[in-house]
């Protein structure tokens, strides 16, 4: 087995040995969807959201929240590995340090896709929310959103001195980002100022792109550019400030 496959398999095994990480990254988003969907008003068409059912607005929000959860655990894990010398130990072997990063990203992407599929399935089966009509657009939006969110997670890992502080910083950062993604008030219900800000946040742009693709359109160029921009800036800074020890 190649180093990358072996590392990805090992990291995935380790991930499943952390019940808290597993709960928040894999189980929490579907639970939130079920809780929201069990409120009758959420399933009714709502005039203040342009006649859409609120629950169908929440499906992309929860998919993006799943990504943020993985980014959070990614940042904690990496900062902890550096703090404990795991990365330093690896530097003395022929494996390129970037392979470790690749393994983590592969695992996070793979598992987050599972969460996404579960959320879409629950939405469809339990609450009759339509599946994405424009599948390629949905996948492109999803990958762009994942890249942007993971790049921010890696930036936090690069800057935070310890695993604990990485977790705290990531939570502090993702909380306002979740607000702008529409977790408390979907974008359709935001006033113009809030929605304009949300357009420029990675999660807000991600939610809107997923929603557009679900409705059958390609995402707006602005939102794709915003996600790419965050990926380049955060990813670049993460690469610039990353330390292996």
């Amino acid at each position: 087995m190649s180093a990358l496959t072996r590392l990805t398999a090992t990291e995935t095994r380790l991930f499943f040995r952390e019940p808290m990480l597993v709960f928040f990254a894999l189980a929490f988003p579907p639970i939130v969807l079920v809780v929201l969907g069990s409120i009758p008003a959420m399933r009714e068409p709502n005039a203040s959201f342009g006649g859409m059912r609120v629950i169908s607005l929440y499906v992309p929000i929860i998919v993006v929240m799943g990504l943020a959860m993985f980014a959070n655990s990614l940042s904690q894990l990496f900062a902890t590995y550096r703090e404990k010398g795991v990365l330093r130990r690896m530097r003395t072997t022929p494996v390129r340090p970037g392979v470790m990063l690749g393994a983590q990203l592969l695992m996070s992407t793979g598992l987050s896709v599972v969460t996404m599929l579960v959320v879409l399935a629950i939405g469809r089966l339990a609450f009759d929310v339509g599946l994405p009509r424009q599948l390629p657009a949905y996948l492109v939006s999803y990958v762009l959103a994942a890249l942007a969110v993971f790049a921010i997670g890696l930036l936090v890992a690069a800057i935070a001195p310890t695993g604990k502080s990485a977790g705290a910083t990531a939570s502090l950062l993702f909380l306002p980002l979740m607000v702008f993604s529409g977790l408390w008030m979907p974008r359709a219900g935001m006033n113009d100022v809030l929605r304009r800000i949300s357009d420029f946040t990675p999660l807000g742009a991600g939610v809107q792109s997923l929603q557009d693709a679900t409705a059958g359109h390609w995402p707006q160029p602005l939102h794709m550019a915003v996600m790419l921009g965050w990926t380049i800036v955060a990813g670049g800074l993460a690469a610039r400030y990353f330390r292996w020890e």
Partner: protein, 302 residues
């Protein structure tokens, strides 16, 4: 040809010069020790050799490769055991071995390594549940899993109990017998004396001596002391007349004879001629500790 060559190595951290012009060469199949007090620059020296740090001056070649320009080839041949580095808490011993094997082109049989290091029963144990000695043995196993030509072991036995330390020493000799050249960083005299074929003594970033343990001791002082309780009164002149003897002193019921060369044989022969039996006979030689004090002006743990 030397397998490791270090020439004029200088490493600075800001204004502080951690390593100041250190040069030495390690021959194939040797156990080469770097001995010095904490903070002397030992670890910095080996980290430059491992390619973990960039040197400021000098040249280093390991198996003919400059560690700073290594494209992964050197890391195939150099196994490292680092001070203070850990594995993920919940990674099992067997998983760690399997993972690290996958990093190398021609890995060793890790099951055999685990057997040799007495970790076979711990294959399914998570890293966090291992004892200090078991963690150390695992880190040695990981350093050897790539079938390296050179293994760097940094403060390997620090924190181990005396029995575990002796077991580890046996193990290191076993590794050398497999043809691996070993670079051993230590601040334990007994360890250096027992294991090393050659020693570089480093103090405050400078190389103060480079020799075999016996050579270092001999270089400092060839004196020996013989201490015994004579079975009958003995005229000191019998002993002072011997060319090997420099002085004779009485300490309680004991005589302490100081001298050089084959002192023990000379003294016991003279005693036998005078029908005196030497009870509680002990020979005290200048130790590596004494040598270290003479070289650096202070004991190693001061």
């Amino acid at each position: 040809m030397a397998i490791i060559e270090v020439d004029g190595l200088v490493k600075r951290y800001g204004d502080h010069t951690a390593v100041d012009g250190v040069s030495f060469a390690v021959e194939h199949g040797e156990i080469f020790g770097i001995l010095g007090p904490n903070g002397a620059g030992k670890t910095t020296t080996v980290e430059c050799i491992e390619g973990l740090r960039t040197r400021d001056e000098g040249t280093i070649r390991v198996c003919g490769i400059d560690p700073q320009r290594d494209n992964g080839e050197l890391r195939q041949m150099l196994g490292s055991q680092l001070q203070e580095s850990e594995l993920p808490d919940k990674l099992q011993v067997g998983e760690a071995m399997e993972l690290y094997s996958s990093f190398y082109r021609n890995p060793a049989d890790w099951h055999e390594l685990i057997d040799m290091l007495n970790l076979a029963e711990k294959i399914d144990t998570q890293f966090r549940h291992l004892s200090g000695g078991q963690k150390q043995r695992l880190s040695i196993a990981l350093a050897l899993v790539g079938n390296p030509r050179v293994a760097v072991l940094d403060e390997l036995t620090t924190g181990l109990d005396p029995q575990a330390r002796r077991d580890t020493w046996d193990l290191i000799e076993g590794i050398r017998d497999r043809g691996v050249t070993i670079l051993l960083v230590t601040h334990f005299m007994a360890e250096a004396e027992r294991l090393c074929d050659k020693l570089a003594v480093i103090d405050s970033g400078r190389l103060v001596a480079l020799d075999s343990p016996a050579g270092l001791v001999a270089r400092v002082d060839g004196r020996q002391r013989v201490r015994f309780r004579p079975s009958a009164p003995l005229d000191h002149a019998v002993l002072t007349a011997l060319p090997e003897v420099t002085s004779v002193e009485r300490a309680g019921g004991q005589l302490v004879v100081t001298g050089r060369g084959n002192l023990l044989l000379a003294v016991t022969t003279a005693l036998a001629r005078n029908q005196v039996v030497a009870a509680d006979l002990r020979v005290e030689q200048t130790s590596l500790d004494d040598a270290f004090v003479a070289l650096t002006g202070r004991p190693i743990d001061a």
